[in-house]
Amino acid sequence: MTFGLSNLIFLLALGTAIFFFARSVGKIRRNIFLGKPINRSDNKSDRWKNMGLVAMGQSKMVAKPIAGFFHIVIYVGFILINIEVLEILIDGIFGTHRVLASPLGGIYTTAINFFEILAVLVIVACVVFLWRRNVQRISRFHKDEMKGWPTKDANYILVIEIVLMFALIGMNATEANMENAKAGPFIVSNLFAPLFSPLSQEGLHMAERIFWWGHILGIFAFLNYLPYSKHFHIILAFPNTWYANLNAKGQLANNETVTKEVKLMLDPNADPYATPAEDQGAPERFGAKDVMDLKWVNIMNAYACTECGRCTSECPANQTGKKLSPRKIMMDVRDRVEIVGKNIDANKGQFVDDGKSLLDDHITREELWACTTCNACVQACPVEIDPLSIIMQMRQYLVMEESSAAQELNLMMSNIENNGAPWQFAQADRANWADDMGAN
């Protein structure tokens, strides 16, 4: 063990990476809780089960078998290969080199061999994904909302993962060529070892260090890329499934604010002229116009979205050429809440009205009215994001605050109000069908 300059640099890099990552996560957390409260902490055992099945078990990923299979490869690879990162961290902090090699002996070589095989599988999976996006050009990756940054983001992530895996293999390949190799040879990197055999021992050590530093600094950088990327789903998939809606999909949330009002209206003892209690504050807005009107779970959903587009490819409105794309709804919520967050940062913790809102500036009315509430998007999402909940809250704002539904819908609603049916038939005629039962 030698403690020197490189340890200091490592600690500095580690500290910086953790500091900035924590800061970014803190901001996302703050942004999520700009949303209104909703209780999603009931039925804890069901929630753990759901998270185990859907996030850890990837149960919904396999609905698309090819993407599902390769995603599981990357997911398992990511989790297991990171065990090796533990060793890298220890080595980096204490100035050791492959600290686990001697104590673990044969197990160490077996483990590294296993990681190497995983690394190759991860590379294959990433190449397959790059192929599907850029060569095969699967349509759900190329809808309008994917133009520009979202497409680049996806490709950056896949390329970074490939580079990190190669750094790992390079690290092992150079190690195996050393005279005083701590471990090896290894099953995959041995194939690359001849590439480095012309190097002197000194050169090998240097190359090994480059791969080692490249790998760990790459991981630190990637960690800090996550909060700015759709790739943040690797973290939020877990809470997102834990806090998911466990009720029947058809059950749309009850709007409590409205319940209060309706109960008051129906209560024969209520005094309509009563002055409201003083601590009530401004009456709550019905439905959602901006991100702050949504529930915090809706905003977490937006940060958990990795823009895979399964929702959009299942959406009947989108499939028939309408503007609605459930994925875009999620991306818009995230974009807007990021703007709101930056506004808060710039104004000493207070949001200063910027004259913009989620409605109209991001999500158009046309999109909202195209939804059939069929739940196909909710069903399709591998991490149980609920775009429908957002659409419904925004429709509530449109109808209850702005009275701006389409004329035909207003007619339907006034029919329900006046005669208890969406069409203009008298309620007294409801059982007329029964009169001519014999005639059929």
Binding site: G250, N375, Q379, W433
Partner: protein, 259 residues
């Protein structure tokens, strides 16, 4: 054949076992009324002790809620709940998946707690308990495909009951490409039934009808009055109404059993 109402039974001091919630489409839409009658006939044949609310029934509020008018929805819900609770209703069966979903899932929070069944579930129970007997009959061997209503399938996870009914009538059942949890909406849900669709390159019901036609069916089975309308319109659009029928499962059961 007389269909008793809750009010009449109450006057006689009687309480039926189950309330048949007819729904707005089932009460007023000419096509849906046939489904209502077929189901009511079957209930009578099976000797089910049931009643309807008649003129005391009112819209559950589903299209209002889905259009964003939570006020109107809750007003409807609370006054319906008042009626249902006054009759001490315990069990409800309905031929409309939208009524089914709303009564089952959205009324409890507002004080209405009932055992709610969709008519396909109820018919399955009648058949399984032996109260209703059907063997193949008229529809034996007919090529039938089934369109999953969103509010029965994805919304409430019921995919099996309708398929069991088709099995009972010994039809040649063929699934569409997108079925069960991946079934494609007919385009009517979320209050779309009552408005023009947004601009696009196709109507959703046409997309779904084309998919149904790929299975070369003689009958497209539906289990929702709105899906029925949408698919019937699709079939008319494709000028196939002469050779292909869109029929509710209640009608198929009635036909097969010659009830």
């Amino acid at each position: 054949m007389k269909i008793p109402s809750m009010a009449e039974l109450m006057a006689q001091g009687k309480q039926p076992e189950v309330l048949f919630w007819v729904g707005c489409a089932g009460s007023f839409d000419d096509r849906a009324k046939k489904i209502t009658k077929a189901f009511a006939k079957t209930l009578l044949k099976a000797g089910v002790d049931f009643a309807i609310l008649g003129k005391e029934e009112s819209c559950t509020g589903d299209p209002a809620k889905r259009a964003g008018n939570e006020f109107l929805f809750q007003m409807q819900a609370m006054s319906n709940i008042e009626v249902l609770n006054a009759y001490e209703v315990k069990k409800i069966v309905t031929t409309c998946p939208h009524c089914f979903n709303t009564l089952k899932n959205e009324y409890p929070e507002l004080g209405g707690n009932y055992e709610v069944m969709h008519h396909t579930q109820y018919l399955r129970e009648l058949l399984e308990s032996g109260k209703l007997k059907i063997e193949g009959g008229k529809l034996k061997g007919k090529r039938i495909t089934f369109h999953d209503p969103c509010y029965l399938g994805r919304a409430n996870g019921e995919y099996e009951a309708p398929r069991k009914l088709i099995e009972t009538i010994e039809a040649e059942f063929v699934e569409m490409r997108r079925c069960k949890s991946q079934g494609l909406c007919c385009g009517a849900g979320g209050a779309q039934m009552f408005k023009e669709p947004e601009k696009g390159n196709k109507d959703i019901n046409i997309e779904r009808t084309e998919e149904a036609l790929e299975t070369q069916p003689e009958i497209i089975a539906a289990a929702c009055p709105f899906c029925n309308t949408m698919m019937s319109d699709g079939i008319k659009n494709k000028e196939k109404e002469g050779s292909i029928k869109v029929m509710d499962l209640a009608e198929l059961i009635e036909m097969a059993g010659d009830l």
